[in-house]
Symmetry: C5
Subunit: 323 residues, 5 copies
């Protein structure tokens, strides 16, 4: 009967006590990550949102039993709140370091091994390098670690070298180039003899660019090519200025939209944005010079060219251009 | 008296114990889904949001009583937190795998059957194929399953082959073509002898397109037809360029709006978007060529045609066009 | 002393037991709704959000006392979590069927009557007919009912035929034409002998249209009248096309804004939107024909009219127009 | 020792019992409000959001002690959940009537006085009169009262006639003209002998208009003055129409932006909006008449003026204008 | 065995009692702040959002033990809810004064020292001076203090003079010029003998302006330079007005965007906004005067200059200009 086993196990159980015999021993907790979905990687606020689950295993000797005494039961499922569970903080979380795992039950084996697989949506901060946007690669991480226990008390290790991808539902925006799960230790300057263990999950991502090529690069290329023909349009008709102004406005709308999708960071500027700004600058100059030339064109032509202009052009520029 | 029955049933009840006699028996849990409303199917973030309720039934032999002893009572309503309830995870949930069902009470029958009907808003992720947007069909699913218990412990089965539609309030956006409820088992590669049972609810949806035809397709058709008349407008008047530019701008606003409603996925691009981009490209070419021709038109005509152009046109093109 | 009364009442009280003598009796619960404010009726997502409170009364014979024994106290206020409260679900809720009423205390009378007045913001789904927008009337409802208890266990009845309006703070957007509170029973097909009782609160609403007349109808009328003068503008000046295009763009901005405020439902389309689309269509035609006529106007006039056109016009149209 | 005092006070304490000797006595609760910040006054949804704290005092005779017996302690801080606290509802709240005050501790004095200072962000609904926007004054209130206890049980009074402003952090958007804290009683029609007490906090606010003058009024004045010069522009050049249309579009963008910031109420319309609509109307007329005149101007002048026009002008208008 | 120690420590522990021997002693709590990330400084709503953790230390003599008796254990980790923790309010919080620290465990040393390191996202209100936007410096603070306990009961002190930056992840938007952690006391006017202690964390920030220079200042400079060439464009061609109008519209879009990012405060206006408004004003004048001059240009020139204009110009202006 399960009830008898339940009573046997939890009669004297205290969930606040670490499951070790000697108080100097660390609890060995092994950990890996199984990815289900990449919800998004928000460039603007630099947040990485994944959906996956952890596979956590440790040994709790207080939860052993003789399977023969209890109907040959070798497994027993209990609520995770009724046993000791390791403190698992998402160190680089954006908002909540302690995800709510209380609903996830744990499986006890009769040899004392505990297996716990809590799932959740994890939001971590991810530094994004937008230089080559939208043809960029990114590296994002999830760092699980203990917040209070040193590695002499609770020792985290990774059980697999890579993220499990069995249930991965591929993202339409990001291609996963690779992944890595590794154990790290960190030490604070204040207290070099105390170290904390953490398990770092790295995901190498490559943006799928077809959407952006079609909706960002192509329209921009069209506008850029229109910029070129501005120079060809006949100035007499007055269309030259209005064509230039129209293109200028389009570019500014374009740039506005781009800058709204980018983080307001000043560390790196996207090459694409720099290009856009440059074309806009060219356009502005084109419009300004067109107006200047039109002005000269429509002037009263009786007046002679002023002396200083003549000097400047015939002597200065001529020498400059080696004529 | 209900109080006496309550005391009788719950004196020695432990909610952590599965309601089976032998610990090797699975609990048979039958399940079906009744749809009340489709809240939305968000194309952008690929989230399907439905409102419905589950009808869950199982047998708990500890909750039997002789109806004759208790005023012929055959039913008794209790809070779901005071009895064992099966672990029901929404496997393909977007955020919370365990919906909050604690407010929903359960009905006990005197033969030990428990009937529980928790309702909720379920958000699942749904892969959307936008190729034929807005004339598309979609298939979305809700997968209910156990997260920790194997099917040897808790065995889920579907009690109906289709979703119950008694209380369905039809959606203005989606027409339901059909539905299916089926039991599935899944096995992990690691441990092929362990399997988990789940109940998959499939909904086949067809978009009601009248709204989109009127607000998306019709305006686009208008703009496209205006593109055609650009070629007819007389180039002398200078209106040709400004007409072309105006249409180009309108199309880019259009495309911007479309791309904001679409997921940023690069797997499939909507045919409608490809068409729009193509028309935009045509337009850009039209404007560029117009400017080129105007330029030729307004040139000083005294200069003879350069030799290489003459050669190119009279010999190259002529041969190409078989003249 | 209140303390003595408290001890007297709650010594043997079990909140899980229905307050009836015989277990076959239903608990008679009377209910009405007092409206405080209409927060909004969102056309886009079809959600009706009201702020009001319920007045719920029932009899709990376990909570009787002799007022003479306790300082002539006839009323006693207790936390609602310490007594049995009826299960009140908001059946047509958008998200949460069980509003959080735990903070609201209940008043006990010495004859066993319990009076409970929980308030809250209620979000219900409301089917909106936008045909006559913005000159439309709507009917929205709040349905309170039991979710698990049949009407043989808990029987809901309405205590007033109309919504109480004592504390109503009139909305600037909606005028309340009338209201109705009525008791309904519903039966499921599966089990015709089981019925559930519910209390339906209906509100008949009429939109206050002055805001919309000024910001939607008036600007649209202005644009429409400008459309008319397009036909009068002289084609020679080339202003005709640009005027037409400008109006077309304005209309499309207008329609965009309208369609963003409307639900994406395809069941009914607003008459106003159909009108706008129609005017836009007229405009497109106007621009297209203007370009065509300008083209004819600027053609080389030496060429004779082609034979087939002459035939078409002089014979086909002439006969068609009975000339 | 504090522990001894704690045990002394809370050994027999029941938090559900009002702190009065005779059950017919009301608990006298005095209350005032200290304002820290005005978060916002949202015109669109008519919500007033303040951040402040309450100073609540009452007498609980069960919590008295002899200070001499306990180390001369005259004050003792306890969690507010371990004592009776008055039911404080924010009657005109927008969403939650019972703010979460459980984290705030209370101070007990040895004579039984309890002092409790819970802080919070309070969202109340505030009727906004936008007629003179952005040069408007508003009056917003926070009403704290009991929801269940009549004033015979719990009697609220204000301890100061004005809001405390010691920690007020001035808002950049609103200038506080004055404030008032007053006690009110309200009686329901149903039961005239039962009255509830409440404390009303009134804040008189004046909008700081410099931001709006610069970003709303000034640009509008510029556009209006441009409207005037439309009449001066020479009609021959065809610029007249395009100038008029441009201004019309600018005004409609302007009005759109204004109407998005205003509540969709139809009770009062902002004078500023009416002015904008009027100028827009003038502009539309101007454009229409310009087109009409251009049409007349470009007509074939050989045709004589039709008889009815001559009659109308020479006889009708002439007489009308007293010529 | 840890269990034995746990039982030893918490057998008679009452979490409501301050950890002091004499009830007149204050608990000395030292505090410092370690910054992990600056999430954002929202100019619009004036909210500063940081992510960091507190290092809190105090002495609880009830939690001492002889390490020799318990396996030489000198540290013991316990849940923070099972011991007394100081009341730490974020005094200048925007919404929640009491962050949820219940998940963070505390470390007990065998000499009674307790070390607690709760982390969180802290939202404080920060007065922003936007005068020099986007080349501005800002000072933002986080104030941690006790809300109920006077400094005679709980005395907060800072343990470091500066914010710890060991784990700081540099922000792309803000450069940290310096920081300061200091202890402050505040006294209310009402009760000058009672003072509360608080620890103020100051951060001196400098905006990284490259993003803004490129997306805000550069486009604005371009538009401004285009304004200048308006004066050069030949008035005959009618392009002058449309150029002016186009620039005017661009500026208003620009200003709209700027004002949407700025707080609606009227205390300080950004210099950049004033400049933009001024250029817009110039532009409006330019357009108005252009229209006026065009009007004069196209007038019938037969009419002589009116007498008063001649007088005004030849006598008034001549004298004014000293001619």
């Amino acid at each position: 009967e399960e009830e008898r086993l339940h009573n046997h196990l939890f009669r004297h159980y205290n969930t606040a006590i670490r499951p070790v015999r000697k108080s100097t021993d660390p609890v060995q907790v092994s950990l890996t990550f199984s990815l289900m979905q990449i919800h998004m990687l928000d460039e603007k606020v630099q947040v990485f949102r994944t959906y996956g689950w952890l596979i956590v295993k440790w040994l709790d000797e207080r939860l052993q039993w003789e399977s023969t005494e209890y109907d040959n039961m070798t497994e027993f499922v209990v609520a995770s709140t009724s046993i000791w569970t390791p403190e698992l903080a998402l160190i680089n979380a954006v908002e909540y370091q302690f995800p709510d795992f209380t609903n996830y039950r744990a499986i006890l084996m009769n040899d004392g091994e505990v297996r716990w697989e809590p799932a959740g949506v994890f939001e971590t901060s991810c530094k994004i390098d937008i230089t080559f946007y939208p043809y960029d690669n990114q590296v994002c991480s999830l760092v699980f670690g203990t917040w209070t226990y040193t590695s002499f008390k609770v020792n985290l290790t990774n059980s697999t070298p890579e993220v499990l991808m069995d249930d991965y539902n591929p993202s339409g925006q990001w291609h996963i180039l690779g992944s890595q799960v590794s154990r790290k230790e960190f030490i604070y300057e204040c207290c070099p003899h105390i170290c904390f263990s953490k398990v770092e999950v790295l995901l190498y991502l490559k943006r799928r660019h077809r959407f952006y090529t079609m909706n960002l690069i192509l329209p921009c290329a069209m506008l850029s090519s229109l910029t070129l023909v501005t120079f060809l349009s006949p100035p007499d008709q007055g269309e030259k200025i209005s064509l230039g102004i129209s293109i200028l406005l389009s570019f500014s709308v374009f740039m506005l939209q781009l800058s709204e999708n980018m983080p307001k960071t000043s560390e790196t500027l996207p090459l694409f944005g720099i290009y856009t700004t440059f074309v806009m600058l060219m356009n502005t100059w084109s419009v300004m010079l067109t107006v200047l030339i039109l002005n000269l064109h429509h002037r009263n032509e009786d007046r002679p060219v002023p002396g200083w202009v003549r000097t400047l052009v015939f002597e200065g520029f001529a020498r400059l251009l080696c004529m």
